[in-house]
Symmetry: C2
Subunit: 313 residues, 2 copies
């Protein structure tokens, strides 16, 4: 099979042996694989794949058709449309992973949408629904609303009866964010739009003092990204006064069973909302697998709304 | 009735009109009232009592005998031994509060123990059991193990099957902390004793970076005190890598119904452990009500193990 391969920071397409499904695993013919911020880090050698996953083939999410069944599998049949978060190896013609990581693709989604769904919707659901426990009637602030996780979080908030506000750096994207259901605001002075019950931080530590001061009593600050700066000042008395909590989260380092649980939760609580027309996967651009380098470049250029997805013919 | 009264930062004893129990309230003849850090702040005008409570009579916890029943009360009879967290007014011969704030005093406790129980055990239970969800087999670190909340937290951890380690500044108190069930260590280099599943911070922000780095994956940092410094540096990437959470908490600003819920939880989960011999209230010293100024001085001098309690003859 052909696969994107990282060679000294460069993305090339190379022939690899076809992977074979082990016990409990599915072999999947990949049709689409979304790009994520972590791919950019991995390409530069700063975010290696967890043990047990392809180390040189990038890609953390995929959608495709089941092409082979390992011993003892029971959830899917050959030909089924499936999607998953994987530890690596998604940007290839074929991939294998444990069947419990896979979810059925909602009927209404095409391949690029399905390939760009798992990471951002699992991340957003886990952060704002499962961990931050966003409730109907509450007010969510998303820092970095135009990214993949941001657009997923805004939609999930709206679908669960919460109100959403999002900081969006690029003015030209604010109308599209508003269409997704959020009030799109400038980063500067965001606290004036509070108080917020939940804040989803996808940017960095620069917002930390103002995040804490703009939380409602009992508010929750979910930190999922810190690309623009990791270290900030935390005022513990302010945190106590708000009876607030701050938590950090990543998906990639979690165990197989934790990731399988995330997949079950997405199936149960979120996937039905796609066919119901309440959620969609904004796709900014698709690139054929062969043009992965251009796709990564597009991802890093920013200013996009939604996902960049590699498609495999 | 006589009551401690704050007059321009001084504690004097003054005559006040006897309080009368309103609808749903109990009149209690106070027998003991524990001192707390917040009393020290209130004396200096920095921590006023919440609305609806005596503004000039300090005291946030008490134990005593029911001396009168307001209209519609149903939980207690005259003469019952009760204790409660109140919004103010505990350091007096008589006090009134809603009956749902009161808990029965365990039989095995004398008055000073009962008067020093509610604040520290409710605070410790709420922080490490209810909010931080400390589990059997986990490892708790308490910063400031010799204080009232610290000694309560250590004992609760042990009683729920968790392991406890406590930083104790004064070397002469470490043997007593060990008797309560914790490994007593120096503040310097505490992280070498980790990783910790839960850290209870009763001191200040100086520990913040090392707290985060010494948490286990999935660890929780409960911030209940920050007297030695409020502002510290938080590394969001470290927080994400640990998938950890930090929360701040205070009791005093909570609503009546929240405080009543805390009392129900203490009754149900913690109070039975006193008569069972698994928990005790360490009392460092008692002072008669008339010597409140000396009691406050003793509290502020530090170096004590357990509670300073005012007793009313």
């Amino acid at each position: 099979m052909r696969a994107i391969t990282i060679r000294e920071g460069e993305l090339v397409i190379e022939e690899h042996p076809d992977p074979e499904p082990g016990k409990g695993e599915l072999l999947v013919r990949v049709r689409a694989a979304g790009l994520n911020g972590a791919d950019m880090h991995q390409r530069r050698g700063r975010y290696p794949a967890p043990p047990g996953w392809p180390q040189d083939i990038p890609g953390m999410e995929l959608a495709g058709e089941v092409a082979g069944l390992g011993e003892g599998t029971e959830r899917f049949a050959v030909g089924d449309r499936v999607m998953a978060i994987v530890g690596g190896g998604a940007q290839a013609e074929l991939a294998v992973a444990h069947e419990r990581l896979f979810m059925p693709v909602p009927e209404s989604l095409d391949w690029p949408e399905a390939g760009g769904l798992p990471e951002v919707f699992v991340t957003a659901q886990d952060a704002i629904i499962t961990q931050a426990e966003l409730r109907p009637g509450e007010h969510l602030l998303v820092h970095g609303g135009a990214g993949g996780v941001g657009t997923a979080a805004i939609q999930l908030a709206r679908a669960t009866g919460a109100r959403a506000t999002a900081t969006v750096r690029r003015e030209e994207l604010r109308a599209q964010i508003a269409e997704l259901g959020a009030e799109a605001i400038e980063c500067e002075g965001f606290a004036e739009h509070g108080p917020f019950d939940v804040i989803l931080e996808l940017v960095g530590a620069g917002n930390l003092p103002e995040n804490v001061s703009s939380l409602a009593v009992g508010g929750r600050l979910a930190v999922i990204g810190a690309g623009a700066g990791a270290k900030g000042e935390l005022n513990l008395l302010a945190l106590m006064g708000k009876r607030a909590r701050i938590f950090g989260s990543t998906l990639r380092a979690r165990s197989l069973e934790e990731k399988a649980l995330l997949a079950r939760r997405l199936e149960h609580e979120v996937l039905p909302l796609f066919d119901a027309g309440e959620l969609r996967v904004p796709v900014a651009a698709t690139f054929p697998l062969e043009q992965a380098a251009a796709a990564y470049e597009r991802f890093e250029a920013g200013g996009k709304l939604g996902k960049i997805v590699l498609v495999v013919q």
